[in-house]
């Protein structure tokens, strides 16, 4: 198990290969002939039209210009704002909800993290919190988790972010708790009805791909500034994985078992509670784990609307370009992710074993449950004592200021960054210029300088050639949406950088992934680094990236690489490792060289994994478009950011967010259908 923000994003409904009826089978051989031909024709025609019509009808929209659609979105926002004070929905639904969430968070904060009116320290001091969390980890997961949790929580304090860390834990706990209440029922509902699934699934797609920057401001309008809106934002992003995984788990309950149960005349409810839920339990726990990771990855974003926690110091250090402090607070988030990931995973494994032990069957060498029970009770007593002491003695309540690990660590990181920048900025400048001139500029010119209708047709043709008719239909729909947003030109610019970034992601993923797949040692060293890059808030490495590459599109690409390469690399590595050992052995027995093994056996055989890596890399790259906008990426990302920052650009920003989503869905469908086709070829 790894600590990753979003692992293997569940794919949309089109993940299923398009069904071909048997009747149409004879035509396939014909199709294979015209597909490459179509692709070639499209590209040639495109180049010709581009050469002739370059720069005309590009639908370019100036920085401050707005379309009617953008203004309409603004007016919707305004009427929202106006309705806030005198609408029944706000008064009786939203307001109580907001108050409830804020109240809950405030209550937990006063218990564990924040001083209250009467006390300069929270009810439970640091010692109490540390012992309580460690005890919980012991009771739920075991001794190793207890040590991990204890060490991590202490480190939060030594880093100097005690209060913020506990705040983040509180907010994550509340958000994940709500997800755990909302998600499984929704997933069950979707698993039981194809129609419900078909309706909700696109909504989940939207929730996952619409950049949160685009709806942050209106959410703050509805749920107010602070924990409530932060929690709602977090839920919007972290609920979909849980729902999807639950649906998947319920759907995958063995059909024979279900049939057997139906044949015995169980009611739907009995089948659900006695069969499907227990059998999907492990999968649902994995869903909750994913949900937790996703929730943590929202910590920084949530800080933009005053969500309490570690995101605040990250943003604050960013303002003064303090790389060291940003790194230390980011590291605290990474540690928290690792701690929660490992503990929930261990807990789910443990509870599986325990279920058996509790029912009286020995499941192999498990240390006596009775000894454990005594340990848990003793731990409870110790925790109670620790809480009591930390409530009453200031030294045990307020986290000690020394030893201070955060300060020196931050300084060291700053120094290292400065050294790196100073040493490599020449090389990085050259790298940036080369890739920009050779790849980014030509592609952007081709995409953004072609007339919009040429581009629309070209994309359709490519979708048809690569993915088939269903991909083309999806592409057409997404194109219509992008046109509707009025941001065609910006979308094409974003598409250009996205494609370049994806290409680089795939190249890096194949190179590193093959290495990791072939060498256990390389895997053991690189994997934790990849995990860290997936969890650390991207804001942390923006400043060094800026220092190395300046505010350019290439910096945006680098940021996308930092986020996209880990997942793609891991997928490739797992694919290479998944190649049957018998085949490798057989190839070896025929005197295959190392390089031949890679190029003729391992990579071709893990083609499916490489395609999946490309698809996931693409989606991860797209999810960094907004962050890219913060560092000179321009295009849609910048518009989303400015839409969040400037009231009158809200509509345009939201439209840009929608365009990003449409781009994402279009690319996802094309690659998925293409992958399905490739897989069958």
């Amino acid at each position: 198990m790894s600590a990753t923000a979003v692992r293997e994003r569940p794919t949309g409904p089109a993940a299923r290969p398009p069904a071909t009826t048997r009747a149409s089978r004879p035509r396939i051989s014909v199709r294979r002939h015209w597909r490459p031909f179509l692709l070639g024709a499209v590209v040639v025609l495109w180049l010709v039209l581009w050469a002739v019509l370059k720069g005309t009808q590009t639908l370019e929209l100036g920085g401050a210009e707005k379309t009617d659609f953008h203004l309409w979105l603004n007016s919707v926002r305004d009427s929202f704002d106006a309705a806030r004070s005198n609408s029944a929905v706000f008064e009786y639904v939203v307001q109580p909800l907001t108050d409830g969430l804020n109240g809950l968070v405030a209550f937990l904060q006063s218990l564990f993290s924040q001083p209250s009116a009467l006390r300069p320290v929270p009810q439970v001091g640091w010692l109490g919190v540390v012992v309580l969390l460690a005890w919980l980890a012991f009771a739920l997961a075991g001794v190793r988790s207890m040590l991990l949790v204890g060490a991590c929580v202490l480190l939060f304090g030594f880093f100097g972010y005690w209060q913020q860390s506990i705040d983040t834990l509180v907010v994550t706990f509340v958000a994940v708790g709500l997800c755990a209440i909302l998600g499984p029922p929704l997933g069950i509902w979707m698993a039981r009805s194809r129609r419900v699934s078909a309706i909700i699934s696109p909504v989940l797609d939207l929730m996952q791909t619409l950049p949160s920057f685009a709806y942050l401001a209106p959410l703050a309008l509805v749920f107010g500034i602070g924990p409530a809106a932060a929690i709602v934002t977090t839920i919007i992003y972290s609920l979909p994985p849980l729902v999807r995984i639950t649906e998947h788990g319920i759907r995958n309950v063995s059909p024979t078992t279900l049939e057997a149960v139906t044949s015995m005349g169980g009611t739907a409810w009995q089948t659900l509670t006695k069969v499907q839920l227990p059998m999907a339990r492990r999968t649902i726990v994995v869903g909750i784990n994913q949900c937790t990771m996703a929730a943590l990855s929202m910590a920084t974003i949530a800080a933009l609307i005053n969500g309490p926690g570690l995101g605040q110091p990250v943003l604050q250090s960013l303002q003064s370009l303090d790389v060291g402090s940003a790194f230390v607070s980011g590291l605290a988030i990474v540690l928290m992710a690792i701690m929660l990931d490992r503990t929930t995973t261990a807990a789910s494994e443990r509870s599986g074993i325990e279920a058996r032990v509790a029912r009286g069957t020995s499941a192999g060498g498990f240390r006596g449950p009775r000894a454990r029970r005594v340990g848990v009770i003793a731990g409870a007593v110790i925790a109670a004592v620790a809480i009591y002491l930390s409530h009453n003695y200031l030294a045990l309540a307020k986290f000690p200021a020394s030893p201070d690990l955060g300060g020196p660590l931050g300084k060291a990181v700053s120094a290292a960054t400065n050294w790196t920048v100073g040493t490599f900025s020449g090389f990085t400048g050259w790298l940036k210029d080369t890739i920009t001139t050779l790849l980014v500029n030509p592609l952007e010119s081709l995409l953004a300088q072609s007339p919009w209708w040429v581009m629309a047709l070209v994309l359709l043709g490519i979708a048809l050639a690569l993915g088939g008719r269903r991909a083309a239909v999806a592409a057409a729909a997404c194109e219509a949406v992008i046109l509707g947003t009025g941001l065609w030109n910006e979308s094409m610019k974003t598409l250009a950088t996205t494609l370049v970034a994806t290409l680089l992601v795939v190249v890096a993923a194949v190179v590193v992934g093959v290495w990791m797949g072939r060498s256990r040692l390389a895997d053991a060293i690189i994997r934790p680094v990849l995990d860290a890059f997936q969890t650390i808030p991207s804001f942390v490495y923006l400043v060094p990236a800026l220092a190395l590459f300046g505010p350019t599109r290439f910096t945006a690409i680098v940021a996308a690489l930092a986020y996209g390469v880990p997942i793609a690399t891991k997928l490739v590595a797992d694919g290479i490792r998944g190649v049957s050992p018998t085949t490798v052995e057989a190839a070896e027995s025929m005197g295959t060289t190392g390089w031949q093994m890679v190029s003729k056996v391992q990579v071709p055989m893990s083609r499916a994994a490489v395609v999946l890596a490309a698809n996931q890399g693409l989606l991860y790259v797209l999810s960094m478009v907004v962050v890219g906008g913060l560092v000179g990426g321009g295009g849609l990302g910048y518009l989303v950011v400015s839409g969040f920052s400037q009231g009158q650009l809200f509509g345009k920003g939201l439209a840009a967010g929608i365009a990003i989503t449409a781009l994402g869905i279009m690319l996802d469908r094309i690659t998925q259908h293409a992958a399905a086709r490739l897989g069958r070829a």
Binding site: L111, S425, A547, F644
Partner: protein
């Protein structure tokens, strides 16, 4: 999932048992509470903290004074301007301490919704314009006149600017007229968006360090000017109304008298903090000093504010009148 409930329930009872014990034992911590001297009729004081260091300086200085001298419970809320203004209506934000114009927000929240009102100038003057790093101003003295910029356009070419000179715009929080300016002044430049304040600052820092050419949008007061004193390029002087039509702008940005905004509720609440906000006034130099403590010296905002307050008791006293 039943298995999870049990430890959770036990945890809850452990917690309540421990706290219950405490209730009997009597806590000695609350006795050490830092009870404020003054009457605590101030209550909660919600200060929006817009995300730039200069603002942080304002916020923490005012906040620290409110806490220490007026006994307020100060809540700092890190928010972008737009979101901060939204908070006036719901009572989540009492004051924005450094407002840069924002005619659209002023119109919406002060004139239409009447949830906010002007609380007077901060004493800081906001300047927006085009800046070059000091080494360039020294080496090419005539570069500070916008008329000569075309001469240097080639020098400012980058991978992003497609054959023209690059004019680096930055923070998405501000409306810029730069695209129109470039066009209307006939400059062979292209506006490139850095995307955020850190990106802009980092770019200028690198430019000065490595003596690479850069021209970009910047503003003061800004702590970074203490680190690298950027030099402003003179655009055709601002005259009243010359920026009325955004498409035809060909003049410099106006100077902003930065002001404070408070929520109407707060203004009418009779809180002593309102008086403090209204009286709060200092200079660009004061702000840059505190901002420098935070950004350059790495002090916490609280400590930075405290340091300045301790050094300037007379100014603080004037605000409390």
């Amino acid at each position: 999932m039943k298995k999870w409930i049990k430890p959770a329930a036990v945890a809850a009872s452990v917690l309540s048992a421990a706290l219950g014990l405490t209730a009997c034992g009597g806590g000695d911590i609350s006795a050490t509470s830092n009870a404020a001297g003054g009457a605590s009729k101030c209550g909660a004081f919600n200060v929006a903290v817009n995300p730039w260091v200069g603002y942080e300086a304002d916020a923490y200085v005012v906040g620290t004074v409110a806490k220490e001298k007026l006994g307020c419970t100060v809540n700092y809320k890190t928010l972008k301007e737009e979101v901060a203004w939204q908070g006036f209506g719901s009572g989540e934000v009492d004051t924005v301490l450094e407002n840069w114009g924002h005619p659209d927000l002023t119109d919406k929240y002060i004139k239409q919704q009447k949830t906010a009102q002007d609380a007077g100038p901060t004493g800081n003057t906001g300047v927006i314009g085009w800046y070059v790093p000091p080494w360039m101003a020294k080496q090419y003295p005539d570069i500070t006149d916008s008329k000569n910029l075309n001469k240097y356009a080639d020098m400012f070419k980058t991978s992003e600017s497609g054959g023209q000179g690059q004019l680096l715009d930055g923070d998405p929080s501000y409306v810029t007229n730069d695209e129109a300016l470039v066009k209307n002044l006939g400059l062979n430049f292209k506006v490139v968006y850095a995307g955020s304040e850190p990106a802009l600052i980092q770019a200028f820092r690198q430019a000065e360090q490595n003596h690479t050419p850069l021209i970009g949008y910047f503003y003061e007061p800004q702590w970074f000017l203490n680190e690298v004193p950027l030099v402003k390029v003179n655009l055709p002087a601002y005259t009243d109304g010359c920026d009325a039509d955004p498409a035809k702008v060909a003049c410099d940005y106006p100077k902003y008298d930065l002001n404070k905004i408070v929520s109407t509720k707060f203004a009418n609440s009779g809180s002593p903090a309102y008086n403090l906000v209204k009286n709060f006034k200092w200079t660009n130099q004061d702000q840059n000093m505190v901002a420098g403590y935070i950004a350059k010296d790495g002090m916490s905002p609280d400590a930075a504010a405290q340091k300045w307050i301790d050094a300037n008791p007379d100014k603080v006293a004037a605000w409390l009148k």
